[in-house]
């Protein structure tokens, strides 16, 4: 098994696990430093964990509902703990979002469980909730949890903070590392009609541990996350801007939705990321 080694100061470059990754890793030994795998994938298909025989793994997660009001069940938490120990991940990236919610009818006892994380109400109330949740969740792990900014597709009622203000407030209140998903950030800026360049400078970039890069598409009047297409130039522009200010520990290309993602594009984008982080 391979493990992420102690930080030598260099920025590690990796890929999110997807259908093209096992073959790519075998065909291009040493080109990437790690593969990021969601806990949910390891839970559903434990065989995917065997990639760690070839390349180290960083654990990602979408099950803890950090910004929600329904805690994850104990079985899920124990599963995440097991995978954190098994993979020896240096940290666990979790979405600053919710994936379960209380039922709308009081007579229903089961919470609503989704399969996709959702941007929470961005308010002081949620900031406090995240702080409470995170304090409880962090105790279960020997490695830090870091939080990933959500893409904002619509105005969440009751929000009193912008995306940047919300993320900043959470990072400040919880003293937690940031997984800066640049594509989510651009999506949020496009959908709320804000300037990504001036807004990114307001983020607590010194807290960035990891960066995510993926594609986005605009359909039906809204910008959407899209891991089946390459990141647009604006995402790389922001990445250069971030790297000029801080040195994250890792950068992950998330091109993991399509088995037809062109290898030539993947190689080109990896090369571009390597060049940016080495400069």
């Amino acid at each position: 098994m391979k493990y992420v080694t102690a930080n030598s100061g260099a920025v590690a470059v990796g890929l999110a696990f997807g259908p093209i990754v096992p073959e790519f890793v075998t065909a291009n030994p040493g080109l990437i430093d790690y593969v990021e795998i969601p806990f949910e994938q390891l839970r559903h298909s434990p065989d995917t964990g065997s990639i760690q025989e070839t390349v180290p793994v960083i654990l990602h997660c979408a099950s803890m509902s950090v910004a929600g009001f329904v805690p994850p069940d104990d079985g899920t938490m124990k599963g995440i703990e097991r995978e954190a120990e098994r993979t020896k991940t240096p940290w666990i990236g979790e979405h600053l979002a919710f994936i379960t919610a209380e039922p709308i009818q009081d007579d229903h006892t089961q919470p609503t469980a989704l399969t996709y994380t959702v941007c929470p109400q961005m308010s002081e109330e949620t900031v406090e909730r995240v702080a409470t949740n995170l304090a409880s969740l962090q105790k279960r792990f020997n490695v830090p949890l870091i939080l990933e900014n959500s893409p904002q597709y619509f105005d969440v009622p009751g929000s009193t903070l912008s995306m940047v203000d919300f993320v900043s407030a959470v990072i400040e209140r919880c003293q937690v590392g940031l997984l800066l998903d640049l594509t989510h950030f651009v999506i949020s800026m496009l959908n709320t009609k804000k300037d990504p360049v001036s807004e990114i400078d307001r983020l607590p970039l010194e807290k960035v541990v990891e960066v995510h890069i993926s594609g986005l598409s605009v359909q039906s009047g809204i910008a959407w996350d899209d891991h089946a297409i390459p990141a647009p130039p604006v995402v790389f522009d922001l990445f250069e801007r971030v790297i000029a200010r801080v040195r994250p520990k890792a950068v992950t290309l998330e091109y993991n939705w399509s088995p037809q993602f062109p290898e030539s594009t993947l190689l080109r984008h990896l090369d571009r990321v390597h060049k940016i982080v080495r400069n």
Partner: protein
Amino acid sequence: MIANRVHAIVAAGLENPELLARWKQEPELLRAYGVDPAAFDLDAIWKFAGLSAKVKHNGLRFDLPLTFRFLSVNGLEIDIFGAYAAHKARAGTRYAPTTEGRIVEFVDFLRNWLDFDKREHELLWDLVRHESALAQLRNRTPSLGKCRVPHIVGEIILHEMTCDPRVLGKLLRQKTVDPGRVQRDVVYLGYWNPGDPEEICILELNELGYHLLSLVDGKRSLADFKAISKKLISAFDELASVGVISK
């Protein structure tokens, strides 16, 4: 507005887009949950349910790569998967557990949902039937049992198309795609697995061959086909006798 109430409503709508439709028609229903209906962008939440449904169908990309590319380049993914999520919620059914089952269900949905007056919908229908036929044949080994009546050797799937989906596929593999360059033409195709998935081929048929093959169902006997042939000649004679056609 209390955050946990807001989350509960958004989650319920995402899980069951039928609720979103109901709330859109009767906003006051939302007020019963202690929230202001005007604060919720129900259309955007509906579209987000489409994104979620799309991601749940990433497994189909192995078999339907060109279909997904067509949806992407034409900006149709969110609308189609949003409608599909709502359709499943209305029907009260879950997505099939297997990729094969999901393809069948998705194609069934498209059959009823697509607007065939729109050229891009027609092209999508051609493409998804083309790819799903090939996927279906790849995943099955037909039995080659003997039969006393005319029957297909192996398995064949017949489709009448409005274009040649192979030409459309070539265009989609290019960087920029202009569906307007795809010529509208009735094309009859037979996707044939002669007994080995490695030997699947696509037969270009004329109209008569297409209809003849569609009659070969393993039940009609040679005598039945002779009777059909006689009826055809008799129909010609009758039409000629009243002067509708000349022989």
